[in-house]
Symmetry: C2
Subunit: 403 residues, 2 copies
């Protein structure tokens, strides 16, 4: 006798906080597999997993975000009841990795190759500015300076997207945080901040207005319009000729050429006037774009001053992938197959076919009624129903395509 | 030329919030593998993964914890800035799964077999009462009433620990929330709460004092001392003869016998006076113990009223495993082997042996100096150094033990 009870009516609504969401079975399983593939690819390149906690004391985390007013304004804070201190839900894992390198792994020889998986909480920069829970996987390479480290990260970014995630079409859009920083260095900080923010938002009207009031404003406007391939960097170098921003533009050219030399050329673009969100970048930055999500599927850059804030002065470069956006891009390339797995056995809960199927790695559940078994299999994504007269071997052969 | 930079001195300390911690590479990798094995075993039994967010609106989550003053007192709350509403860091995933079943999966036929992985935040019941971040994996079975559902969960608990996690020695300690509840049902709620709390803490002096003042107090004290095998349930039935608590004690006996009949007997114990932490349990409850951690490695029980609070009146039973405690128990049984993986290649960062090793699934990094390569391999847990004169095939054969 089955004591399965039918579900009653749904009578109440139970909202989630804005920007939060549930992953239901198909998406949750796909997400888990994607994270696994990406982490395994990071591991193949020698990156070791670490897992920091989901929140930290504000005083500690914010040391890494110092000067990053946009991010700091948006962080969710609460009082940690044991200590009475302010804690924050992390908007970024990189300062946590910096803390771990400085305080927990100081007996390990550099370079530090560390990977992580975790959720960060950010405001969406575009549109409604809602908070958004972003499931990230990422790496940090600490202790390798300059182009050698940058190239390792670009090569890894390509490899993990192409061969780990299986994405075919994407663009790694390169820039260098030094270009805009040097160009704005002599302006009063309020003006510099406003211009930098207008560049980050790609807000043409604000940029026109703000740049009209500053020396070299025409350069800033021209820079903001540069985008493309190698020619765009050459234009930037001409534009910035004789300014302190020329050196980072030349550094960007050198990196572009080195990355092209190892075969990444077809996946590269450049945006010399790009300002990435996080203030800690000191050199190369990059965003990764693909068709589908309206936001980058990932990005990163060089942050040579951040680790010193935690007492471990080391150059570093990192990459973070947004698994939501990456999964979206993958769905655009490979419309989902409605993947199913497992078998519903028409039988009792102690039917020996259950154990036989599980023993060969096939998920199995029992339902003691053929019609209900079929409905259950359809609704819950089971691949097959094992009818009352079929054996476990029968369905195993069907599932595996063997005669 | 290598531009690896040596790490500078560590000058500052950067504490974590009380009860939070980092997982460093070896532990983080072990944890990921353990979670994967357990989730794969859940999947084999037809449980589908869902992923709720790490925090929820207090009004929604607390609906599921209603009446559970201990848990509610200890929850970490904060103001969610978009909505201005109070949010909580979840102390328990079960109410989230109840919400998902009621609001997101109402078009699916029951039973609902759902699995999750996530971190909850609780105060440690024992000792210092600090908050503790508990990495959990668990399942909920919604829509199968009574012994049939309880048995499925007990069988699954055994299977996932024995064959998923590979743990050999553990005890599933059974009880029934109805026993103590019925016994205290006629007492004023303050007295009932105090006694229930003393039972939960196994606080003999408090129990003696409190029970002296109530009718049937001797029964409560005697019940608190019962623990063991089948005989302890028989003693409980005699003790509770003629009270309303007799029926749940007989239900416990029937479950014990049914679980023994499917071969679980050697792993069972009973504790008829046990009160598990969460107030929503309505019938069978269980805690799983193993040598090592001073706390259960998991537990669960039947909660037939919880889903109705979200508008989906369905009987349900669940299990949650504490991955920290489970990993501890596994370390006691199988002292760690110092597992290593991957190869450090003595060569430049573009050494072709790197790609060759990665192509056959072997993690590889390059260091252009033999002495540093050996130190790096030791510190970061790489299994081998591929010397300058060795080929990728040479080390692959050594790693795989093939001639």
């Amino acid at each position: 006798m089955s004591v399965v009870v039918e579900r009653g009516p749904r009578t109440l609504e139970h909202p989630l906080p804005p920007g939060m969401r549930d992953l239901l079975p198909e998406e949750a399983a796909g997400r888990r597999d994607l994270a696994r593939s990406v982490l395994e690819r990071f591991a193949l390149h020698g990156y070791r997993l670490v897992t920091p906690p989901a929140f930290e004391l504000a005083a500690v985390l914010e040391r890494g975000l110092k000067g990053d007013t946009t991010t700091l304004d948006d962080v969710i804070r609460f009082i940690e009841p044991e200590s009475g201190e302010v804690a924050v839900l992390r908007p970024d894992v990189t300062p946590q990795i910096a803390r771990i390198v400085a305080t927990r792994l100081h007996d390990h020889p550099p370079p530090f190759r560390l990977a992580y998986e975790g959720t960060v909480l950010r405001r969406r920069a575009s549109r409604a500015k809602k908070h958004r829970q972003i499931p990230q996987v990422g790496v940090e390479l600490c202790g390798v300076a300059g182009a050698e480290g940058d190239l390792e990260l670009l090569r890894l970014t390509f490899d993990v997207l192409r061969h780990g995630a299986g994405l075919e079409r994407f663009t790694i859009d390169l820039s260098d945080a030094g270009i805009v920083r040097e160009l704005l260095a002599d302006l009063p900080s309020a003006q510099s901040l406003a211009l930098s923010s207008a560049l980050a938002r790609k807000d043409e009207p604000a940029l026109t207005e703000l740049s009209a009031a500053v020396p070299g404003g025409d350069r800033i406007r021209a820079l903001a319009r540069l985008h493309g391939g190698r020619a765009a960097i050459l234009e930037a170098i001409v534009l910035l000729d004789g300014t302190r921003a020329e050196a980072p533009a030349r550094r960007l050219l050198a990196l572009f050429d080195a990355a092209s030399a190892i075969g990444l050329g077809p996946w590269l673009s450049v945006d010399p006037g790009e300002v990435r969100g996080l203030a800690y970048y000191t050199g190369t930055t990059f965003s990764v774009y693909a068709e589908g999500p309206g936001e980058p599927i990932g990005g990163g850059g060089r942050y040579d001053d951040l680790l010193a804030r935690y007492g471990a002065p080391l150059p570093a470069v990192g990459l973070a992938l947004d698994l939501d956006a990456l999964a979206w891009a993958l769905r655009v390339e490979q419309p989902r197959s409605g993947a199913t797995s497992g078998v519903v056995v028409v039988g009792a809960h102690d039917d020996p076919r259950l154990a036989a199927l599980r023993a060969v790695g096939i998920p199995a559940v029992a339902i003691d009624d053929a019609a209900r078994a079929h409905a259950y299999a359809r609704a819950w994504g089971f691949a097959l129903v094992c009818e009352r007269e079929q054996s476990a071997d029968d369905v195993t052969r069907v599932l595996r395509g063997t005669p």
